[in-house]
Amino acid sequence: MGLRTFIEGWPVYRQLTGTDPLGRGAAAKSDVSRALTARTDTADSVARSVCPYCAVGCGQRVFVKDGRVSQIEGDPDSPISRGRLCPKGSASKSLVTSPLRQTTVRYRRPYSTQWEDLELDTALDMIADRILAAREQTWEDVDTQGRPLNRTLGISSLGGATLDNEENYLIKKLFTAMGALQIENQARI
């Protein structure tokens, strides 16, 4: 920075020479203020999304910078919400970036008093084994009159109202194929 620029950048100089003799406006603007931009303007990408809370289905725009969510706000194009969000929808960035989010698999052994770590693939494998064991132990081929049952009542599931249609489709399809029919979600509650 040359001296001249340096001096011109100094508020008192600007106050004395410029249009802001009281030094409360243009002359007082700091470097940071002058360089200020809206971070939505500098986002790398914007995803068009939908609020994850209630069922109104408000449109959201999810702004991403360096692979992280930098802002979530209402989508003004949405005919449902017209860009508006309630406090929960407005808190969506804090939701997805919450430090309380659990990001690793946790495992509690039977009779244990604490959690331990577990590899994701190991967990998946163990769960698959337990499903097969539960089916083995509780499978019902036919009822007392010989009519087909084709099922296990040893496995239950609860959840789906916060999930995607595609997810619910695969959940129902897989559970049905494994003979598990005790599949429920919030719609029953």
Binding site: R48, V50, Y53, C54, A55, V56, G57, V62, P76, D77, I80, P87, K88, S90, A91, L95, S98, R101, Q102, T103, T104, V105, R108, P110, Y111, Q114, A123, L124, D125, I127, A128, I131, L132, T138, W139, L149, N150, R151, L153, S157, L158, G159, A161, D164, N165, E166, N168, Y169, K172, K173, L174, T176, A177, M178, A180, L181, E184, N185, R188, I189
Partner: protein
Amino acid sequence: MAEAHPVGFQWVMEAKRKGAKVFHVDPRFTRTSAVADEYVPIRAGTDIALLGGVVRYILDNELDFREYVLAYTNAATIVSEEFSDTEDGDGFFSGFDPETGTYVQDSWQYEGHEGSSGSGHTAQERDSAAGLTHESHGAPVGGQTRRDETLQHPRCVYQILKRHFSRYTPEMVERVCGISQAQFLELARAWTANSGRNRTGMLIYSVGWTQHSVGVQYIRTGAIIQLLLGNMGRPGGGVMALRGHASIQGSTDIPTLFNLLPGYLPMPHHAEHPSFDEWVDSIRHPGQKGFWGNARSFAASLLKAYWGDAATPENDFCYGYLPRLTGDHGTYQQVLNMIDGKIKGYFLLGQNPAVGSAHGRAQRLGMANLDWLVVRDLFMIESATFWQNGPEVTTGEIVPEECRTEVFFLPAASHVEKEGTFTQTQRLLQWREKAVEPPGDARSELWFFYHLGHKLREKLADSPLPRDRALLDLTWDYPTHGPHAEPSAEAVLREINGYDVATGRPLSGFAEARADGSTAIGCWIYSGVYADGVNQAARRRSRHEQDWVAAEWGWAWPANRRILYNRASADPDGNPWSERKRYVWWDAEKSEWTGYDVPDFEKTKPPSYRPPAGASGPEGIAGDDPFVMQGDGKGWLYAPSGVLDGPLPTHYEPVESPVRNPLYGQQANPTRKMYAHPVNSVNPSPPQEHAQVFPYVFTVSRLTEHHTAGAMSRTVSPLAELQPEMFVEVSPALAGEVGLTHLGWAHLVSGRAVIEAKVLVTDRLTPLRVDGRIIHQVWLPYHFGFEGLVTGDSANDLFGISLDPNVLIQESKVGTCDVRPGRRPIGPALLELVADYQRRAGIVPGQHAPAVTTDDEGKEHGAS
């Protein structure tokens, strides 16, 4: 609505700005009441008495929209002479079977159809929550019915309706609900004055309405009013259900529910549906009018989507692979079975029953008695840590060293870390783009179930067992992408939409469904969402660039139709009822239906069309029958079948009530689902003794600042700080009576639990005068639990388990309790306090209240 759906509420405010009058009915004065034109405080659980009063007001004053009612409803239809009403049965309709606590519905049918079209005995339907299958279509009914267009026949629906509600007078509304006659009349006048040819009125409910032992009948009463006033199928009208989760509508359409398959096809029952043909016929009812005539195509196409090449017409499309129902397998039955050790493993997928379900203690004790539990969530929720931090650990009922449940916590991807569709509360599917990768081990459910499926199939690859064929033959070959091999959600959506098996071409709609195996459709009502190979749910044409119907934003089922039954927005001749309410109409020149929306009618069927004798399926629907999914094409004021607890709504008291039913000897819904289990109990209500042990009514609901069981709000700092503690709202009068102080502590006791909360003394809670006495109601938010940034006792712990018979949803919006000042005891003393209350109330764990109360002293109605 302002409280739980604030952004949706902008449209109410907009209507208000344009002169609409807004009434808010709620036990507690909420943020909605604050801006409503009229706030109507009501005793929790008495909505049918209020709405029944409105029905009576309409009929007595002949304020119904007669032309609409005659043409479009079953008002003129003659009902069997075997039918007898609750007015004659002291709260019972004809056909009650005290053995099973359910109805035989033959006598409810239209004249000439007794026994041929009804459900017959409904015990099995109750256990399978069969009412849910009617979310997309009406129950079966005979097509050709006898009518009296003068509405004078004593057995026509109109006259039956009139008699049924004849005692629901303003005086009775006041006596039952605690609503003044003047205020009731103001509501009734405004509703009727703002309905008709030129105006429409809208009824909005939030799904707390469903959480009653008569929840379905609440909604039925609303529907009857809206039909009588001509508010169905028209813009600005309708019955709007405000659902509470981002895709709870989707999870009902593509159900993760025990009794349904996608598109409201019923899960087969071992005795009722032994073969594919019997299953399909139970859905389509051969000979019936309406669009369900095509059920065979939908069913075959679903099985084809599931089992692909293995599914052939010769093997009934692998129908044999489907697991069979034998009774009630609902979530509450499951929890009791867990406590009894019958269930090995439990998946929780973004759901927190330890806080969110009724009877939290039963939920936690059930989870503590599993072999294994898989919790998939964003946060470490109460349902994952009950063995460590739950209230039962403090009381000694759960000892970590003795609790065998093996717990897997798997972190889930958030809504911005995966792509897919939510279906919002108006059946609109909206596609979400993925913004970022999920952190760490977090994965979508799509990923989890896809890869779990592959693991299972690998492990079973050499299995010779027949039971494993359904898994091995399953179509499970979705393309994957990205570092974690994420399956393609679009590919799944494509399968949901359906495709031509030979060419793979996406179908344009369910009209293309075939029963010969040439089409595969994952969810027939969603067919069209991927029409032309385009993800229609991803459409985002700005609202500024299209009309107010906004048909190019997302995609609504069915067929991108925004208002169902919109044929009713035109008169029988096909002309708009009025210019002001123009929506869909018949264009005589082009000989087709047209309008702002996709007409909910065969496009070229003229208003003058009359079906030939004996016609069935869509062909049987006349040109002036707008309710095309109903067996008779009519809106049902009277439901001859499909609703298990009566063809007409009847006021029953909540299962727990301090008040004797002023209308009938029958106190509560006699068909409600009850569970006699040691963990479950019901507080006594009149005519039982000891009801005074639990003298206060409590109700629970949401705060704007929190979400359901709190997993997505008590963990989020800017929300947690806005409502940081569990509290109970009480009126100044009750505070004085019990000795509560503002911001002091209170504890509430039911036969199940005792919980504590900070006290907010507020005039927003109003004591009501009911049947000659003062009834105090308290209100609690149900968001709190023991994990998260802000914690507190769970309101749902107070509830027992009693269910609506139609859909097996629990009564968790009203119960009775005692309220005491100060904090609750801890440890074993807590259990002793509850046990003491049980003793004083005469509660015997494992027994439930009598279903039938007409033989008791309560014959003289309203004695209190």
